[in-house]
Structure formats: C-alpha cells, structure tokens
C-alpha cells in the first residue's frame, strides 16, 4: 500500500515531459512509460521532493480531501512502477 505520510521523490532514472494533458514519464531503468493525466498530479509529483510527506505535497497542490483518494491511487501506481521512490530523509 502507498504511504501518504512518508517522504517521496521522482526516481533519478525518470524523465518528465510536460504535456497539455499533464505529462509523460519515462523510466530509463524499467523502460516503461507512464502518463500523468492532469496538471495537478504533475505538480504533486514534481513537488514531492520538497515536502516532508506525499500528503503535504497534495495539500500544497490544492488537492482537497474528497479528491485525495484518487491521487493516492495515482501515486500508488507510480510507486509500483518505480516512477517515484521513497526518500530516506
């Protein structure tokens, strides 16, 4: 399960290409492609490294409590595909 209360960041081997619909993510290690389907989730993902927890990154990007579960699922998918990774600090 994805832990919203842990610190996260984009994996070093991931390239992010902003697009009108959100962004494309490509992981050079797994050679997988992912899509961020809106600009808010792009903001969240890009700011993960600046926040103590994923929850606070979501809050700062304006994700309300009703929308949070959807963002949690999106982040879980990204973690599963190694696009984002847990920080040690």
């Amino acid at each position: 399960m994805f832990d919203l209360d842990k610190p996260w960041r984009i994996d070093d081997r991931v390239a992010v290409r902003p697009e009108p619909f959100g962004a494309l993510l490509y992981h050079f290690g797994t050679r997988r492609l992912s899509f961020l389907k809106n600009v808010t989730v792009l903001t969240v993902v890009r700011s993960l490294a600046d926040h103590p927890t994923a929850r606070s990154a979501c809050a700062a990007a304006g994700v309300g409590s009703s929308a949070l579960p959807a963002y949690e699922r999106a982040l879980a998918t990204l973690a599963e595909s190694q696009m984002i990774t847990m920080r040690t600090s």
Binding site: A15, P20, F28, G29, R31, R32, L33, S34, F35
Partner: protein
C-alpha cells in the same frame, strides 16, 4: 506502431489527445542504414545495400541534439542491420549522453561477449534480437540460413553478460504462431522479454504477406494467447485490430502514425510510420531547414493525420471504436482504401475487400535496397527480388523534375 504499453490504465480522453498529436513524438523509429547482412523475405524496409546518401555521423548527431531538445525519451534504432554502421556505437554513446535512450533491433551479428558486457552496463540501452521462429527451421525459412544460430549466440552472450530483460522480437507469421509457448519459454530461459509484432505488407513484405500473414483462426489463437499473457509480453501496440474479439489488449490501441510516432529513414526522410515507406506518407527530410523538429511540427501530412479521421466504410461497424479501422500501412500496401477495413479485419470485411482489390493498382513500396543476387547464408538469389526491380531510380522528395518517377 505506437510506443510500448503504458503502465497505467487507458483513459479515452488521453487517447483523443494522442490522436490530435503531441508536440514531440513519444518515441520514434530510426533506421540508421539500409545495409544488412541478411535478406529476410518480409523486411519492412527492403534492406540489403547501403544507400550512398545515408546520413553522416555529424548529421546523425544533429538529429540526436534535436531529439534531446524535444525530449524524445528514446529511439528505436533499426535498419537494415544498424550495428554494421562503423559509427554505430559512437552514435549510441552520443544519444545516451544526451538523454535519448536507445533501443536497437539487431539480428545479433555484432553482439559478441565484449559488446554484450558493454550493453549490460548501461541503463539507457536496450536490445531487441529479431527472431521469427522458435526453431531454426521456421526462423531460417524467413530470415535466411544461419540466422537462428546467430541470434541464439547473441542471446547467449547477453545472458552471460548479465543483461536482464533484453527483448526477443518476433514478427508473427502463419508458420510461427503455433510456437508462441516455445518463444515464451525461450525468453524466460534467457531472462528476456518477449515482444510480438504484426507482419505488415511493407517493403519486401508486400510480396510475401499474402503467404505469411496469420490465417483468421490463427489470429483468434494469437489474440487469446495475448490476453492470457497480458503485461508480460510486449506488442508495440501492433495488434489493436484484434480488439473486436473481446476488448482491447494492453496498450494505447491507436494508430500512432504522425501523431505520437514516426520514422526517420537512413537518408533522413521522415515517414509517418516505419511500415509506410512510400511517397504518400513522406513528411519531409531532417536535412531541410529546421531539421526534424520542423518536419514534426509543420508537415502537412502530419497535420492531416492529426485531424479528424473519417471511419469511411467502417464507421457503421459496431466495433469501429475498438479497432479504429486498423493499420493504415496494411491497408495501403494491400490496395485497400485507407478509410475502409484492415485486410485482417476480424469481422472478415478485410478479406472480402481484398478479393476486390486490384493488384495492378496496388501501391508498391517506394524504395528497394535489396541485395542483387546471392547473399551470404543463402544459396540462391533472394526470391522476392525477382521481377520487381524498379524500372527507373526511385522518385524522391528532393527530385524536382515533374516527370520524376516516370520511366524514360
């Protein structure tokens, strides 16, 4: 062909975005040379002999610079046999140093133990070994004598070097569709991933497609096998025409031509897709002012492909939403209208249409770099070149003569 499947679920609105085209391709195919040591009977680019107008090392590097600026994540390098270019490794290093990943297709001829170790050391390089039969008998009938052994040796070298997850790339034919489980075992045994793609009637494939493409019952068998193996097997999104059998396969399920993918050929010509090497699908050349970026952005052909497409004869079919009319190149080179059914339409409309197609007016692949006469590993001349040598040099985008293409 579209990029390998995304990890997340498809969303219709996203697909619509892709249909309208992106500012830069997600990935593209770049055939570095028409030179090849083999003479596969279904070669999509009719490769064999090097084209003297091939892009120079400096020109290739300029293309890579452009791809880096456009944030193209990776290129699928092919040919011909790309590794026979003397500057191949230099270009691979240049691309990866400039954040453009490389996935290259090879018959394995240059993958010796030293090369395999070098490849295994890089995150940014992926290798696809082409293999069109799980046995030498089936493979060599299509790819030439000795080609199975060459591929197996390359795979052995990659495994020994610890290269995890290289691809075994199989073009599905009537003769290997019964070997799907064997291919999977082979991939598992080498720590590789299986990649299955569709045979297109492109290049020399135009002459062999009718004998080699899977039969209707085999298509069904293939679809069921793909559904059963899901995400473990890559398809380059090439079987979306099978979706009406019972729902989409993993992937984008759309024709990405000129929208999210394209082809750069060895002389720098940009085509809508790797299977459409023909004037009709030529968007420009990377040697033009503005280079590849300008072609991608400004080509009239690409603008057209990104516009609304008419379903034509297929629009009234209940499955149109899932197959979207199938593959443009497959229709074109079998003489079918682009807004009609795919020749392998699972409803059988394509087979019907094929009987009505006129071979005399069916477009021919535009270029032919096939070996003339015998090729190493083949005891006789390549059968597919017989009787199809062009009457005149191929007409070309830069040929300003209005009579270009007309003999005499």
């Amino acid at each position: 062909m579209a990029p390998e499947r995304p990890a997340t679920q498809r969303v219709p609105r996203l697909v619509e975005q892709f249909e309208r085209g992106l500012d830069a391709p997600i990935c593209l195919t770049w055939e570095l040379t028409y030179a090849c040591n083999l003479a596969c009977v279904h070669c999509l680019s009719s490769s064999g002999r090097r084209d003297p107008r091939e892009l120079t090392t400096a020109e290739c590097k300029a293309v890579i610079d452009t791809l880096e600026r456009m944030q193209v994540f990776y290129v699928n390098i092919g040919g011909g046999e790309p590794t026979v270019r003397p500057d191949f490794w230099e270009l691979v290093d240049y691309a990866t140093a400039h954040h453009v990943g490389v996935k290259f297709s090879t018959n394995g001829i240059k993958i010796d133990p030293a090369v395999a170790r070098r490849l295994a050391a890089s995150d940014y390089v992926d290798v696809q070994i082409s293999l069109d039969g799980a046995t030498a008998e089936v493979n060599d009938a299509v790819r030439g004598a000795g080609s199975f052994a060459t591929a197996m040796l390359a795979m052995e070298n990659l495994r020994a070097a610890g290269f995890k997850g290289f691809k075994i790339s199989v073009v599905i034919t009537r003769h290997n569709v019964s070997q799907l489980d064997q291919f999977k075992e082979l991939a598992d045994c080498y720590g590789a991933q299986l990649r299955l793609t569709r045979l297109r009637p492109s290049g020399r494939g135009a002459d062999t497609w009718h004998e080699l493409h899977p039969t209707a019952p085999q298509q069904r068998e293939l679809y069921d096998w793909l559904v059963a193996h899901g995400e473990q097997v890559l398809t380059g999104d090439s079987f979306f025409h099978l979706a009406p059998y019972g729902g989409p396969l993993p992937g984008l399920n759309l024709c990405g031509a000129g929208r999210v993918v394209c082809l750069i050929d060895p002389v720098g010509d940009v085509y809508a897709c790797p299977f459409a090497i023909h004037q009709e699908f030529l968007a420009g050349n990377v040697r033009q002012p503005g280079g590849f970026a300008a072609v991608w952005r400004d080509s009239e052909l690409f603008a057209e492909l990104r516009g609304p497409q008419s379903g034509g004869a297929c629009a009234s079919c209940q499955f149109f939403d899932s197959c979207r009319g199938g593959c443009m190149a497959a229709k074109f080179f079998t003489g079918l209208p682009l807004d009609g059914p795919d020749p392998e339409c699972v409803q059988g409309y394509g087979a019907e249409a094929l009987t009505a197609a006129d071979p005399a007016t069916t477009p021919r692949p535009a270029l032919d770099h096939s070996h003339r006469g015998g090729v190493r590993g083949r005891r006789e001349p390549v059968p597919v070149t017989i009787g199809r040598r062009p009457q005149a040099p191929p007409a070309h985008a830069c040929d300003e003569n209005p009579l270009a293409g007309f003999p005499g």
